[in-house]
């Protein structure tokens, strides 16, 4: 087993890991190593061949592979070290990282660790959808990998459960490749993906989106034959008597993403029950000193541009940590009325903090308020807020009145 000391170990060479590495290098941190389990850098962007990335980060619309390549090229230019086909097996609170590759078992001792493992998809099993167990049921990302990377077509007649962005993008992708997509069903009364994807992936191709609907039964012996879909009530439970059968050979699930934090748990990192990601401060430092997290492993983003930006901000904090900056006594940040979650979960008060949050429901003319000691210390207006869309607001350190907890709330007009 090899033993190596590193300033920074980055677990995951997707958009978050790459952006963090490139930024760290720019800041003068050179002893960096990216550990990537796949055969290539780029992460999930490798299979996201659609366009729409990069407008925020590069002021240009790019496809996923093109967006990833910009960072891969930058990392190559800087000579940043990375290991491919290398899977991290274990990680400890003392910053020992054990990874396996064809070359052997590697042990790294890092001054700082960056978690950039991304997320995984929620499956049928986690949802407990009743019914038969035929083949033909794919999570959207798996179907995307089969179609875009492996040149295998998953089906001819599909139904999509969940209006997450990948689900809608796969509806369009399947249609372009000659499959029929009869409908997209969404449990909530609003789409879980971005409005522009409803428009350009569904409506452009006459694919209907049914809100407040879910799959209540699956039929088929060896291969899927049909799904039974029901309307749901206010409590999101199926309404009896509303069942309809949709014949199909393929069911695509786009029902949520879960930050992949098993390694973080190993190291004793505290997770947030709502985000599924680590509890962090404004430096993106987790509850284990020297372990940082950014991107989808921290909270599921709707846009890769924000992943890169978040990772770059984190890189600056990692640089400060390496220079000896200590985490300060914390002010708790909680998600209040109509806020699904707010990051970071605590702040030092020593520097400005970028608050990232999502609303619990769609809102118009909404006002974000950050409350401390019963007063609004920050107010920001939003013409529209959607659960599908992450929002941000800068909380200046100077606005803080005390070290008492702050609460993030949203009020509509």
């Amino acid at each position: 087993m090899t033993q190596t000391d590193k300033d920074v170990i980055i677990i995951g060479g997707g958009p978050a890991g790459l952006a963090a590495a490139v930024k760290l290098h720019e800041l003068g941190v050179r002893d960096i190593l990216i550990l990537e389990r796949e055969h290539a850098l780029g992460g999930i962007l490798r299979q996201c061949i659609h366009d729409g990335f990069g407008l925020t980060r590069f002021s240009q619309t790019l496809t996923g592979p093109e967006y990833a390549q910009r960072f891969i090229d930058a990392a190559a230019e800087q000579g940043i070290a990375y290991m491919l086909d290398t899977t991290v097996l274990r990680m400890s609170a003392a910053h020992a990282v054990t990874a396996a590759s064809r070359k052997g078992l590697h042990r790294f001792n890092a001054r700082a660790i960056i978690l950039a493992m991304g997320c995984r998809e929620r499956t049928r099993g986690a949802l407990s959808i009743p019914g038969a167990r035929p083949t033909g049921i794919y999570t959207a990302g798996v179907a995307q990998s089969y179609i875009n990377l492996q040149n295998t077509m998953v089906g001819k007649n599909a139904v999509i459960l969940g209006s997450g962005d990948i689900g809608m993008i796969m509806a369009r992708r399947l249609t372009l490749e000659g499959a029929r997509v009869s409908a997209v069903f969404e449990l909530q009364p609003y789409p879980s993906g971005l409005p522009r994807n409803v428009e350009q992936c569904l409506y452009d191709y006459d694919i209907p989106l049914y809100l407040r609907h879910t799959v209540t039964n699956i039929l088929g012996d060896a291969r899927l034959q049909a799904v039974e879909v029901s309307e749901v009530g206010e409590d999101l439970r199926p309404l009896p008597g509303t069942q309809r059968l949709y014949p199909c050979d393929t069911l695509i699930l786009s029902v949520g993403l879960i930050p992949e934090n098993e390694l973080a748990l190993d190291a004793g990192v505290l997770l947030d029950a709502h985000t599924g990601g680590a509890v962090v401060d404004e430096s993106y430092q987790t509850t284990v000193p020297g372990i940082f997290a950014a991107g989808n492993v921290l909270h599921v983003h709707d846009l890769v541009d924000f992943v890169s930006l978040e990772a770059e901000r984190m890189a600056e904090a990692v640089k400060r940590y390496l220079a000896g900056e200590q985490a300060k006594p914390a002010i708790a940040v909680s998600a209040g009325r109509d806020v699904a979650y707010a990051l970071p979960q605590h702040i030092s008060g020593a520097r400005d903090a970028l608050l990232t949050f999502r609303p619990r429901r769609p809102l118009r003319d909404a006002t974000l308020r950050v409350l401390q000691d019963g007063q609004a210390i920050l107010t920001k207006r939003f013409p529209r807020m959607l659960p599908a869309q992450m929002e941000q607001a800068l909380l200046p350190a100077a606005a803080l009145k005390s070290h008492n907890p702050v609460e993030v709330v949203i009020g509509d007009a």
């Binding site: 061949i49 925020t56 875009n148 372009l176 971005l194 522009r196 452009d204």
Partner: protein, 121 residues
Amino acid sequence: MLKLYTCILCPNGCEIRAEVGEDGQPAAIAGHRCPRGEAYVRQEICAPLRNIASSVLVEGGELPLCSVRLTSPIPKARIFDMMRLIHAARVPAPVELGQVLIPNALGLGCDVIATRNVGEG
């Protein structure tokens, strides 16, 4: 007549309202957060344009497919014609990001270009 549009040019997805006159020309446009939104709706009213992304078969590559896109959007009505063209295309490895795989596709003035590198397999 009042028409509603969701702008697809950026993730904001602005809801834009357009008053369209009897001549089919927009009279008033509102709701966009940037000028691109207004241009998008004007285009949408007269001749909607879309970009598409897909894959082209690679011969002798480390991967079976190379992802592609168009260099500029095409009329919405021509999407499936374009897909047929992409479907029939083949390219020998290696392929480089940005490489033109089908020049002036369908005579529409746009190229089909590779969006990734594919090395020889």
